[in-house]
C-alpha cells in the first residue's frame, strides 16, 4: 500500500496539492480536538466530545462534497467535516466557549452542535439520528426545485439501531434521493461494543434490505474513504439514489469528557488503538512515498498550531450573550 499512494491519488483524480490540503484538515481536526480537551481539563470549557481517530474518515468523506452547494447534516463528532465544509477554528471555539458570536447557536447549544446556514450546515440536536431524516427532507425539496444538491449525513454505528435511521434509508431509497449516509463505526456506543449493538455486526449490510449499496470502507485510510464517498456522490448526482457507507474507525479517546473509557476498555486494546492512529498512519505513508516532504509536514504543523492558538485566544476573549438573550429567537421576531 505504501508504495502505491501516489498512483492511488492519480486514480482518484486528486492532485498532490489537494492531498496536502486533506492532510492539513486532518491535522487541524486533531489539534482542535486536543485543544478542546486541554481547555476542558483546565476548567476553561465545560465539555468536550471527541473525534480523535476519525479524522481520516471525516476529511476523506467531506472532501468529496462541494462546499457551498451540497448540504451537510453532520453529527456531533464531525469536526473534520464542518472544517472542510468551511467553518473556521475561531467559529468552532466560539461554540466550545459558548460565546454570543458562536455562529452555530449564539452560545445556546453544547459544543459540537455546529450550524451555519451560509455553509449549508444544518443545525443538529443531541438525541441521535434525527438529522438523517432532515437530510432526506433537504434532498426531497432540492429535487422538487430541480437543484443539483447532494446531502451528506452522518452518525455512529450505535445510532444505526434507531428507528429514524431505518426510516431515512427507506425513504431515500424509495425515491432514489441524492443522500450519502456516512456511518462512522468506532466500535463503541459510549461503552457498549459493536457486538452488543449491531446484530450481524455490519452496518453496511443493513443497506441491502433497502436495495441500495452498502459499502464498508477502512475509515483509517483517507484515500479509500474519499474514493468510496466520491463514488456515492457521483451515483447520487446521476439520480441513482442513496448509498450507505460504513467507515470502520478507531476511537482514541473516551466518549466525552464525562466518560473514562479505561473502565470498559482493557489497556491492551487502548494500546492497539493508539498504534493504529490513522493520522500517524497517513503521515508515515505519505512521508515514506514522498507524497509529502518533512518540510511540508513541519510547515502544516506550524500553520495549524498558529491557527488553533489564535482561535483559542480570540474566542476566549469574546463576550457571552447577555442573560436575557436566552429569551430570543423562540419564534420569528417581527
Amino acid at each position: 500500500m505504501i508504495t502505491g499512494t501516489p498512483s492511488r491519488l492519480a486514480e482518484l483524480g486528486l492532485t498532490r496539492e489537494q492531498a496536502l490540503e486533506m492532510y492539513y484538515y486532518m491535522l487541524l481536526t486533531r489539534r482542535m480536538d486536543e485543544r478542546m480537551w486541554l481547555l476542558q481539563r483546565s476548567g476553561r470549557i465545560p465539555f468536550v466530545i471527541s473525534a480523535q481517530g476519525a479524522e481520516t474518515a471525516q476529511v476523506g468523506a467531506a472532501y468529496a462534497f462541494r462546499r457551498g452547494q451540497d448540504y451537510f447534516a453532520p453529527y456531533y463528532r464531525d469536526v473534520g467535516v464542518v472544517l472542510v465544509a468551511g467553518m473556521t477554528p475561531r467559529e468552532i471555539l466560539l461554540g466550545a466557549f459558548g460565546r454570543q458570536a458562536d455562529p452555530s447557536s449564539g452560545g445556546k447549544q453544547m459544543p459540537n452542535h455546529w450550524s451555519k446556514r451560509s455553509l449549508n450546515i444544518i443545525s443538529g440536536s443531541s438525541p441521535v439520528t434525527t438529522q438523517l431524516l432532515h437530510a432526506v427532507g433537504v434532498a426531497v425539496a432540492a429535487r422538487m426545485r430541480g437543484d443539483d444538491v447532494v446531502v451528506y449525513t452522518a452518525c455512529g454505528e450505535g445510532s444505526s439501531n434507531q428507528g429514524d435511521f431505518h426510516e431515512a434509508l427507506n425513504w431515500a431509497a424509495l425515491h432514489r434521493l441524492p443522500v450519502v449516509f456516512f456511518v462512522q463505526n468506532n466500535q463503541f456506543a459510549i461503552s457498549v461494543p459493536l457486538c452488543k449493538q449491531v446484530a450481524g455486526g455490519s452496518v453496511a449490510a443493513r443497506a441491502h434490505g433497502y436495495g441500495i449499496p452498502g459499502v464498508q470502507v477502512d475509515g483509517t485510510d483517507v484515500l479509500a474513504v474519499y474514493g468510496a464517498v466520491r463514488e456515492a456522490h457521483q451515483r447520487a448526482r446521476r439520480g441513482e439514489g442513496p448509498t450507505l457507507i460504513e467507515a470502520r474507525c478507531i476511537r482514541l479517546t473516551s466518549h466525552s469528557s464525562d466518560d473514562d473509557h479505561r473502565r470498559y476498555r482493557p489497556p491492551e486494546e487502548l494500546e492497539a488503538a493508539r498504534a493504529a492512529d490513522p493520522l500517524i498512519r497517513t503521515r508515515t505513508e505519505w512521508l515514506a512515498t514522498g507524497l509529502m516532504t518533512e518540510a511540508e509536514e513541519q510547515q502544516l504543523e506550524q500553520r495549524v498550531a498558529a491557527e488553533v492558538d489564535d482561535a483559542t485566544e480570540w474566542a476566549e476573549r469574546q463576550p457571552y450573550a447577555p442573560p436575557e438573550f436566552a429569551l430570543r429567537h423562540v419564534y420569528e421576531e417581527g
Partner: protein, 327 residues
C-alpha cells in the same frame, strides 16, 4: 361564498395555497391517490401531481423529519398525521427538532411547516383513534398549536399556518369534518393565529372552549338562555400562544368562568387558562373557576356506553353552566 363543510374548507385552503405558492406541498399516509383516509386531500393529487402530494411510507417520525428537512431548504410542507393518536412516533422530531430549530440556531434556520392531525372522539374509535393530544405540545415554546372550530376559521387559520414562519400543529376534530357547514368566502383569506373569538355575548357566565366542545357549549348556551342566564362563549382557536387578553377580558365580563375541553382535565389547557385568570383578575371573580373535561383515564374506550361516558355533550355542558350560573 360557498356552503362548505369543515373538511371542505380545509381542502380549499390547501388547494388555494398550493396554487399560490409552488413551494407548498402535502405529505402523509394515503394523501395521494386515495385523498386521505378522511378525504381531506381528495383531488389534490390529480391537480398537483405526486411530487407535491406525496404518499409517505408508514412512518410518522419520517413524515415530520423529512418535512423538517424540506422546510429547512425553504419549501413549505404540510404534513398529515393520519390520526393524532399516531403522532407520538414523531414526538421527538416535533419537540427536539422542529420546536427548537430556530432557537438553537439563533434564527439562522427555521422550520415553516404545518402538521395537520385529526383528533377527538365520539366516532367509535377506541383508545387509539379518539385522543385529544394538544396538551402534549402546548407546553413546548417554539411550536404553535391551532384548533379551529368552524369552517371559516379552518380555512383562514390553515392559510395562516401555511404562511407562518414557524412550525404549527393544526388539530382538526374529526367529529366536525362533515357535521358543521357554513358560508365561506371563495377567495383566500387569513385568520390570525393567537387570537380568540367571542362566539356568543352574555353577561352571566363565561364559557371558554375550542374545537368540537365549543359547539356543545353554544348549544347549551341557547338552552340556558331559556332559563334566564346569558353565557358569553369564547373560542380559543389557538392554544399556543394563548390569547391572554381575550381570556382575561372574557373572565372579567361575567366573573364566573367555566372551561370546557374534551382532553382530560389534569394538566389540560383548562389548567393554564385558569391560572392566567387567577394571575390577572382573581378579584373580579364571583365564583371558583370550574372545569368540565374528559375524565382522567388513559384514553377513550371503544364500547358505546363507555365512550358516551367519556364524551362531553350539550347536556353535560348545560348542567355545568347552569350550576355555575346559579352559584
Amino acid at each position: 361564498m360557498a356552503l362548505l363543510s369543515f373538511l371542505e374548507a380545509i381542502r380549499e385552503a390547501l388547494r388555494q395555497e398550493m396554487r399560490r405558492d409552488p413551494d407548498v406541498w402535502v405529505v402523509g399516509e394515503d394523501v395521494g391517490r386515495k385523498g386521505g383516509v378522511f378525504g381531506v386531500t381528495q383531488g389534490l393529487y390529480e391537480e398537483f401531481g405526486e411530487q407535491r402530494v406525496q404518499d409517505s411510507p408508514l412512518t410518522e417520525s419520517a413524515i415530520v423529519g423529512v418535512g423538517i428537512g424540506a422546510a429547512l431548504y425553504g419549501t413549505r410542507p404540510v404534513c398529515e398525521i393520519q390520526f393524532a393518536d399516531f403522532i407520538f412516533p414523531a414526538f421527538n422530531q416535533i419537540i427536539s427538532e422542529a420546536a427548537k430549530m430556530r432557537y438553537r440556531s439563533n434564527s439562522d434556520w427555521s422550520v415553516p411547516m404545518v402538521i395537520r392531525a385529526p383528533y377527538g372522539g365520539g366516532v367509535r374509535g377506541g383508545l387509539y383513534h379518539s385522543q385529544s393530544v394538544e396538551h402534549y405540545f402546548t407546553s413546548t415554546p417554539g411550536l404553535k398549536v391551532v384548533v379551529p372550530s368552524t369552517p371559516y376559521d379552518a380555512k383562514g387559520l390553515l392559510i395562516s399556518a401555511i404562511r407562518d414562519p414557524d412550525p404549527v400543529l393544526f388539530f382538526e376534530h374529526k367529529g366536525l369534518y362533515r357535521a358543521v357547514r357554513e358560508e365561506v368566502p371563495d377567495e383566500p383569506y387569513t385568520v390570525p393565529i393567537g387570537k380568540a373569538a367571542v362566539r356568543r355575548e352574555g353577561s352571566d357566565i363565561t364559557v371558554i372552549s375550542y374545537g368540537k366542545t365549543l359547539h356543545f357549549c353554544l348549544e347549551a348556551a341557547e338552552e340556558l338562555a331559556r332559563e334566564g342566564y346569558e353565557a358569553l362563549v369564547l373560542d380559543l382557536r389557538t392554544l399556543l400562544p394563548l390569547d391572554r387578553e381575550a381570556i382575561v377580558e372574557a373572565a372579567r365580563r361575567t366573573g364566573k368562568v367555566l372551561i370546557v375541553h374534551e382532553a382530560n382535565k389534569t394538566h389540560g389547557i383548562g389548567a393554564e387558562v385558569a391560572s392566567i385568570i387567577a394571575e390577572e383578575c382573581l378579584f373580579d371573580l364571583d365564583a371558583p373557576i370550574r372545569r368540565l373535561c374528559g375524565p382522567d383515564i388513559p384514553a377513550m374506550p371503544f364500547a358505546a356506553p363507555m365512550e358516551q361516558f367519556y364524551m362531553l355533550s350539550p347536556e353535560k355542558c348545560l348542567a355545568a353552566m347552569r350550576e355555575l350560573a346559579q352559584f
